[in-house]
Symmetry: C2
Subunit: 236 residues, 2 copies
C-alpha cells in the first residue's frame, strides 16, 4: 500500500471516525482543517487533538473568512441564534439556519488543491446522509457531482491519474458510525460536535441531539460532558 490521502478534519465525531478509517487505507495521511469564521474555535482544538492521535504526516489549518458573505447562524458575524428547539425526529427534514452556503464545495475545492499539490490519491470527507442535518452538500448526488468535477478540474486528473473522493460514512446511521469508531479505537472523548463553544456540550442543538441519539442507539455512553441531555437519552 502506497497511498497518500488528504482528510478533512472538523473536530467532530464523523470526521474523527473517517480519519481513523483513512489511516488504515493510506500510507500517509495529510489533515486539513478550516478556520472559516465560525462563532467559536472549540472544534478546532478538537481537530488538533484528533490530528495528533491519527499521527498525520502534516496538518494544515486553512484560514478563509466566510463572514465576508454571511448567510449562516454558525458564522460569528451572524446575529441569528443557533436553533436548539428542534426535536430529534424533525432534524434534517428542512435545511436549517446552520447551513453555510457552499461550505463543503469550498472545503473540497481547497482539499483538491492540497491533494494535487502533494500528489495525493484520495480525499476523505466524513459526510453522512442518514442521520444528518439536512445540508444539501452532504448528499450522495453532491458527492457524485464533486467527483465528476475532480475528474475534469486538475492537471493530475486530466493527465489520467485519479484523485478519488472517499466518503466511508455516507450511507451509515450515526450509531453505525459510532460502532465503526469503537472498532477503530477513535478517541471520542477528544471530539467536539456541539454548535456552541462552551466548556461542556449544550446537549440541545441539532448536532448534540444527533450525536446523543447515535450513542443511545449504539447502546454506548458518550464520553464527553453535557450541560443537559434530553429525557430520551437515558442509558441506565
Amino acid at each position: 500500500m502506497n497511498k497518500r490521502s488528504v482528510i478533512l478534519i472538523s473536530g467532530g465525531l464523523d470526521s474523527a471516525v473517517t480519519a481513523f478509517y483513512a489511516k488504515q487505507e493510506s500510507s500517509e495521511l495529510y489533515g486539513l482543517s478550516f478556520l472559516y469564521g465560525q462563532k467559536h474555535n472549540r472544534e478546532i482544538d478538537s481537530a488538533k487533538k484528533i490530528g495528533i492521535e491519527a499521527k498525520l504526516k502534516d496538518h494544515v489549518f486553512f484560514t478563509l473568512d466566510l463572514n465576508q458573505f454571511g448567510g449562516s447562524s454558525l458564522l460569528k458575524n451572524s446575529k441569528e441564534t443557533i436553533p436548539n428547539n428542534v426535536s430529534v425526529e424533525e432534524i434534517g427534514k428542512e435545511i436549517p439556519s446552520t447551513y453555510v452556503p457552499a461550505r463543503n464545495t469550498i472545503f473540497l475545492s481547497i482539499a483538491l488543491a492540497y491533494a494535487e499539490t502533494i500528489d495525493a490519491d484520495f480525499i476523505f470527507i466524513g459526510v453522512t446522509s442518514e442521520d444528518y442535518s439536512g445540508y444539501p452538500d452532504c448528499r450522495p448526488a453532491f458527492i457524485d457531482a464533486f467527483q465528476n468535477l475532480i475528474n475534469n478540474a486538475t492537471k493530475k486528473t486530466i493527465l489520467g491519474k485519479n484523485i478519488r473522493l472517499n466518503t466511508p460514512l455516507l450511507k451509515l446511521s450515526k450509531d453505525e458510525i459510532i460502532k465503526k469508531g469503537i472498532n477503530l479505537n477513535v478517541p471520542f472523548e477528544k471530539t467536539w460536535s456541539c454548535y456552541q463553544g462552551k466548556d461542556k456540550a449544550c446537549g440541545i442543538c441539532d448536532s448534540c441531539k444527533l450525536r446523543l441519539k447515535g450513542f443511545k442507539n449504539a447502546g454506548l455512553p458518550d464520553p464527553i460532558s453535557y450541560i443537559t441531555t434530553p429525557e430520551w437519552y437515558d442509558l441506565s
Copy 2:
C-alpha cells in the same frame, strides 16, 4: 430584466470584457476578486479600476493564501521563475508552471457561496479555451462539470432555483474577445494581463504574448505600455 450576477474580476482583459458583457445581462452586478498569495498585486489594482468602471453594486476582495499548499510559479512563496521563453504558437500545448492547482475550482466555489448568499441568478467568469494558457480548469468540460455541481450543491439550487454559470468568452479567440470589448467600451488601458508586477507589462510572458497576439490579429493597438514587444507585434 431583474437579474443579479456575481462576476469574477481578475483585473485582466478577459474578465474586464466579461464584466461589461455581464452588465448588459444583469440588473445588479456584484464583483469578486481574489488575493490568493500571488507574487504581485498589480492585477488587483486593475480589478478595482475595472470594478469602478463597471459600476458594481458591491465588490468583495476575498483573501485566502494558496501559498499554504504552493505548486505554482505564480505564487509568491515559489522560487520558480515565471516562464518567458515559450513561443506564442506553443502556448497552451502543455500545462505551464503558472497553473495554480484547482484555482478556478476554488474561485468558483467561493463565487457560489457569494451567489447563494445574495440570491444571485448568474455567475460570470471570463474563461476561454481557444487562445488560452493550457489550464485544465478553463475547458468546456470543466465548466459543464461545475454547472452540474452547482445544481447539486446549494440550498437554493436543490430547492429548484437556478444559479447559472455563464462563460461568454469560452469559445472566442483573443482577437474576437478584444473586438467584443471594443463594442462594449471596455477600458482596456485599465486592464493588466502580465504575470510580472512591474510598472510596464513585460511583453514576454505567456499572458503578454497571448494578449499582444490578440490585438495584432484584431488589427488594433494595445493601449497599455510594454517594456518590450515581440518582433511579430508590428502594427505599422
